[in-house]
Amino acid sequence: MARVPAAEGVFTWPSDEPRLIGSQCGACGIVTFPSQGSCPRCAATEMAERLLARRGRLWAWTTQEFPPPSPPYGGPTGAAFVPYGVGYVELADGVRVEARLTETEGLENGIEMELVLVPFRTDADGNEVVTFAFRPVGGERSRA
């Protein structure tokens, strides 16, 4: 079964160590995620792609216990839905990115998280569609 990314241009693919693809403003230096074409702070159009750090600290989180409305949600619904965590991870690039979290328990603000790719759904051709998520580092909690 082949693996395909859930979206183009959001994380590096294919890669042994995927990175999220953000952008940085050449005029004012702010970093965004995902990559965008103009600056949300200074309105300049000098954004350049920037690969973001693979590790960071959990800044805020919750759990998604019910399937999001479909459309637009493309994942499994009904009995096939599996609750997931969602939160913001603060990266050294100076940005907090919103991401799926691999756990729904044991989450605490401040713990170290690392980027992983996880299965999201199976597409019509039988490919495993993968998306980005953050997982607590080492299974043990390390706090700032």
């Binding site: 919750t62 998604q64 019910f66 409305p69 969602v86 919103e98 799926r100």
Partner: protein, 380 residues
Amino acid sequence: MDVAIIGVGLHPFGRFGDRTGIDMGAMAIRSALANAGVAWRDIQFAFAGSYEIDNPDAVVALLGLTGIPFTNVYNGCATAASVLALAADTIRLGEYDLGLAVGMDKHLPGAFSSDPRLYACPSWYGELGHFLTPKFFGMKINKYMHDHGISAKTLARVAAKNYRNGALNPNAFRRKPLSEEEILGSRMLNHPLTQYMFCSPDEGAAAAVLCRADRALRYTDKPIYLRASVVRTRRLGAFEVHSPWLPIEETAGPTVDASRAAFEKAGIGPEDVDVIQLQDTDAGAEVIHLAENGFCRDGDQEALVAGGALEIGGRLPVNTDGGLIANGEPIGASGLRQIHEVVLQLRGHAGDRQVPGEPKVGYTQLYGAPGVAGVSILSV
């Protein structure tokens, strides 16, 4: 140019089968016109808010095609606050004396959904399950509780208060009191928010008749003066809904900005307010908004709620008609329901829900996607 509210009207909130949103809007308008003692032909301009209805101004088909300027407004869950602010500003500009603000909506049950690209978010943001509002509120209160020592019991107490107040409100959707245990024990949706801690989308309409303050006494012996009606959107660094990323440098949210601007315009402070309506999308939002609107410091809410300060008889009565939790949320109408309740309170006509001590100053706050807030301050 000062502005007064001389009439308010409401169509009950809930679910009403085949009755259309526009029908509900017409009923709310008729009620407001009667309350003001004016006729539709006297209205010189109008603004109407709705999410579901493309052209809520089509309500004129049921009232009279008088050719007045009638503009439709949509501004997320802050729509009705924007309708009110625009109507008030139109009078303040000096060209019109008497106008109408109305909001109406009829939503399907369940979480709101849309195309993320319509919110400047990438389409994968929706496909992957991020394009949801309840999740944002879950994250925001979860973090706030962690940072400021608020307990889940406080969330349940706030929700229970609003259900209890809703039971006193014949126009509310949910009129059955729920215990804190039932609320905490209901289905978890987005930790720590359970099902009964959330409002739900529903149906309803509300309207207000506004006029120049110096003419108000022609219509009523107790005009309610609109001392401020302010709308603000988020600045970069605010923690807002539908944000795939946030910068590290934090700024205050649009509610804080709108609140400060409104108090400044009105020339008063939070200590002067007697009756309050806050956006309780969920119980956590009411807790956070209490501080964001300047009524307490972060963390004070734990003791305030435990001590009953937010009850009808308390020092800071909040959502005396049950708020969004008991009334549900028809987006276009919600903020005008807040106005309706505050006006009743200031007139002394709130019956079983009346805040004692002759309240003189009222305050309303709305918040909605993608990060817009509306605040109004009213006084006798």
